[in-house]
């Protein structure tokens, strides 16, 4: 048993070394505009929530008060967002999971094309926020 643990330890050290020196290692930190569910909860009601998922998924379930702004029908839906938008207010965008990139695309469009600031991307599962 002791020898087994030693072997596992050696393997773990090799893995850790690989993580340190491997240039293709994954990034675990948050970008400057990314927030966790915990941080988003602190905005409590003082932010506009955008759901960047397709309309079908939005219709099935979404965060209370969220506005649907999907990538594929952006032009059709952006008017609804502008009606709800309050200048200067924080905006939090989520999509299906922490690995989806629709929220990033929507954030980029609102920043670059609409020159809107205070945009945050939710990392983590939006369902945790719902709970």
């Amino acid at each position: 048993m002791k020898k087994f643990l030693v072997l596992v330890l050696v393997a773990a050290i090799i893995g850790a070394l690989n993580f340190v020196i491997n240039p293709k290692r994954p990034a675990f930190g948050l970008e400057a505009d990314e927030i966790t569910v915990e941080s988003a909860l602190s905005f409590s009601g003082k932010c506009i929530i955008i759901d960047a998922r397709p309309p079908k998924e939005f219709a099935e379930s979404h965060l209370s008060g969220a506005i649907n702004l999907p990538e594929e029908n952006f032009d059709e839906h952006v008017g609804n967002f502008l009606d709800a938008w309050i200048p200067g207010q924080k905006i939090v965008i989520y999509c299906s999971s922490s690995s989806c990139n629709s929220s990033r695309s929507i954030a980029n469009r609102l920043r670059d094309e609409f020159e809107i600031e205070n945009i945050f991307i939710l990392k983590g599962d939006w369902r945790e926020w719902k709970q």
């Binding site: 020898k3 393997a11 502008l82 695309s105 980029n108 094309e113």
Partner: protein, 215 residues
């Protein structure tokens, strides 16, 4: 016991090539397409350069707009294959990055990430796409700069009488022009749309919009 430990140690340090290994010609596809493109078909070619058969157990994407599938379930040593798929464009513009994940039964390479990086060129671009006045600020003229990449300007008008739009002012490059827009009043919140009509390279006439907002 000693033999078991040696075997375990051997497995832990086995190089991945002794398992199966899917080697992709390129794990990233980069391309530039016109905004008139409805969908983009792609293919990632690979070869199993390992010693064992690799089974692809699942393929997932980070966007419902991207569908990908393998041509067969398992690939023997030295066998080639393809991951084919389609990216549906919709209203997307600019650089789009869509991840595709393969899950295999292989211990050395259980998850493989492929990347589709597509630049969707816009026929016409606005800077900015939203012209905004704060409520009760001066109802002064504000400009929108229009860049015609693959388009010819036809006309522009507001969809309601709450906003005035100037004639186009041509820029120096011949590819850009500006429009000046002002609200009739900023005493109350209002929203409008500036419709810009243009002709694409293929001769089709289209509208693109700039949002106008007093709030």
């Amino acid at each position: 016991m000693k033999v078991n430990n040696i075997l375990l140690a051997f497995i832990l340090i086995l190089p991945p090539s002794l398992f199966g290994i899917l080697s992709f010609e390129t794990p990233v596809i980069e391309d530039t397409i016109s905004s008139e493109t409805a969908s983009y078909d792609f293919s990632f070619a690979f070869k199993n350069t390992g010693k064992n058969t690799v089974e692809i157990k699942n393929i997932s994407t980070t966007c419902g707009c991207t569908v990908a599938k393998n041509d067969k379930a398992a690939y023997g040593p030295q066998e080639s294959g393809e991951i084919r798929g389609t990216f549906t464009i919709g209203d997307r513009t600019g650089i789009q990055e869509k991840d595709i994940y393969l899950e295999t039964n292989d211990l050395g390479q259980s998850k493989i990430k492929l990347l589709l990086k597509i630049n969707i060129e816009k026929d016409i671009e606005f800077k900015p796409s939203l012209i905004f006045w704060k409520k009760n600020e001066d109802a002064k003229e504000k400009s929108v700069r229009i860049t015609l990449n693959n388009a010819e300007y036809i006309s522009a008008e507001s969809d309601n009488s709450n906003f005035n739009v100037s004639d186009p002012i041509k820029g120096t490059s011949g590819k850009d022009l500006a429009l000046k827009v002002s609200p009739t009043t900023t005493a109350e919140s209002k929203r409008g749309i500036l419709k810009v009509r243009y002709k694409t390279k293929s001769g089709a006439e289209k509208n693109s919009i700039v949002h106008l907002l007093v709030k």
